[in-house]
Symmetry: C2
Subunit: 313 residues, 2 copies
């Protein structure tokens, strides 16, 4: 069994992009991460929506191999976020956050999902993430994604959680804040010391770093996308693609972790090429494999024979 | 012949670093670049100093294989720059710039140096860089380093120069300003369209990008330095190491350009580990080769066989 359980938000996003405004686009961290992971492994989604959530989006998830038994539908409205991106798409401002049914969300893992070996904890309160883990029976690998404001708001809960997490995926800025230092080599070491066996630092257009040990570092490029349309969900897609690849392969060997970071980056690069979920829905395994090969070209350089003097003509 | 001619500033730097203040440390773009290039190829330095320039620094350069016939010594004081670095060493503020003898500098290339095949134009006014090229007889490869404020102050002279430059090495921020856009893939294409056959974008702690064509991109990591002491001269060392490696190898093949970016990054990583020129003086070819191998480990990931379903256990 190589199923992936994904817990997080399922939401509508109103997006003000340089290319225009898009109202109430289906999204949410669990939705992006589930679609991304489903490219590689069966997925089980845990989340909550209101009565206004479109059935055809759920249907699309199911068609992609996402088990939605854990997606509760309750009275009320679905989580709605509204934000504006800067012209260069590198920053965004939250304009509105309507938690709605998400406000009282407590993840309930269906009984038949409690043995799922791979668990992706999306960006929800660390106490809720801990509630998920309390319901799981000996998961093989737990990934926690991007901590955002919990670093300030729930530091102790976060530190407790980190001791139970195998893979921490975190933005560079958050990583620096959590570690309390700037130098990224030292930041990686400090975060490993908090518990996770693998720390993945997301650096946006600068790629990602994987730390497997104090001096075990993998430097992943970002896919060179000339036309970024909508960065929403890129981080979730990255985490979903990463864990999907690890699950597909059967576990986190050092080599597979490196490849998984590349696969996650490839999936994220598809995500940002269209608005909302469209980028993920338009991609497939062949596309990801082609992008993987592009990554190989991007990062390739030959052995150092030519820095020997014998190389002179 | 694989000599490298380096033109730029020779200077004293007063450095306010988090680790302390250092008064009138010998430096300058041409000094750093010459020492870096001299690890791989014979170097000819062209610059100007005053009577206060220490003879033992010149002697050290000569011992490293730097021909100083083109280093003029004139009445007056040597260029002096004073600056303060931020605590995380990612920013610096100029406190004082005393051009002194550099104010009236016009590079004079000694007759026997005018056939030098590899030319490194350090960060001086584009008109002065053009004066250098006017004195050279058919150089094989011309590299121009970091444009800084000439982008605003001498845009036309810069654009004229770029049509005669083979390798442009430029900071990411400057590259975006020069191209007038943010997306770095498009920036690379725009700069190539200005003339250079190779564009190298320096991204500091995020590594470097090499553009050899609209879709020919190489993504170089930065060396993971846990203890950055003094970033002064890192960019000059990068350019010097890069061109030194190309000169040593006999020219800019695509493979050699990629390796050269790694070699330049390795040399720059040595530079920042001590104050002033000390980092460069402490390194050698074996050290650079060891760091090159570390770069290989850093960037390595295995072929995509495991993103096939057959990988499942």
């Amino acid at each position: 069994m190589n199923d992936v359980l994904v817990v997080g938000s399922v939401a509508f996003d109103t997006l003000h992009l340089p290319s225009g405004t898009h109202l109430r686009v289906p999204g949410g961290s669990a939705t992006y991460a589930s679609l991304a992971a489903s490219l590689f492994a069966p997925v089980r989604l845990v989340g909550v929506v209101g009565r206004d959530w479109p059935a055809d989006v759920t249907r699309t998830l199911v068609e992609r191999g996402v088990d939605v038994e854990g997606l509760e539908i309750v009275d009320g409205l679905t989580f709605h976020w509204e934000g504006r991106y800067s012209d260069d798409l590198t920053h965004r401002t939250s304009l509105r956050t309507e938690l709605n049914v998400f406000a009282d969300f407590h993840p309930r893992i269906p009984e038949r999902h409690r043995d799922t070996p791979y668990v992706l904890l999306g960006n929800i309160h660390p106490e809720l993430q801990a509630e998920v883990l309390a319901q799981m029976r000996a998961p093989r690998l737990v990934l926690a994604d991007t901590m955002s404001f919990w670093i300030r708001g729930a530091r102790l809960a976060l530190e407790r959680l980190l001791r139970r997490v195998d893979v921490l995926v975190i933005n560079e800025e958050e990583a620096r804040e959590l570690a309390g230092m700037h130098n990224i080599v030292r930041v990686g070491r400090a975060l490993l010391a908090m518990g996770p066996r693998h720390v993945v630092v997301k650096r946006g257009e600068y790629g990602a770093l994987l730390f497997d040990g104090p001096d075990e570092i993998f430097w992943a490029p970002a896919y060179p996308v000339a036309d970024v349309v909508d960065p929403t969900g890129a981080g979730d897609s990255f985490a979903g693609g990463l864990l999907g690849h690890v699950a597909q392969g059967g576990g986190p060997s050092p080599e597979r972790m490196r490849r998984a970071v590349i696969v996650g980056s490839a999936v994220a690069s598809c995500c940002v090429e269209a608005v909302g979920l469209e980028g993920l829905l338009a991609t497939n395994r062949a596309d990801i494999e082609a992008r993987f090969r592009r990554f190989q070209t991007l990062a390739h350089f030959a052995p150092p024979s030519e820095i020997e003097p014998t190389d002179s003509p």
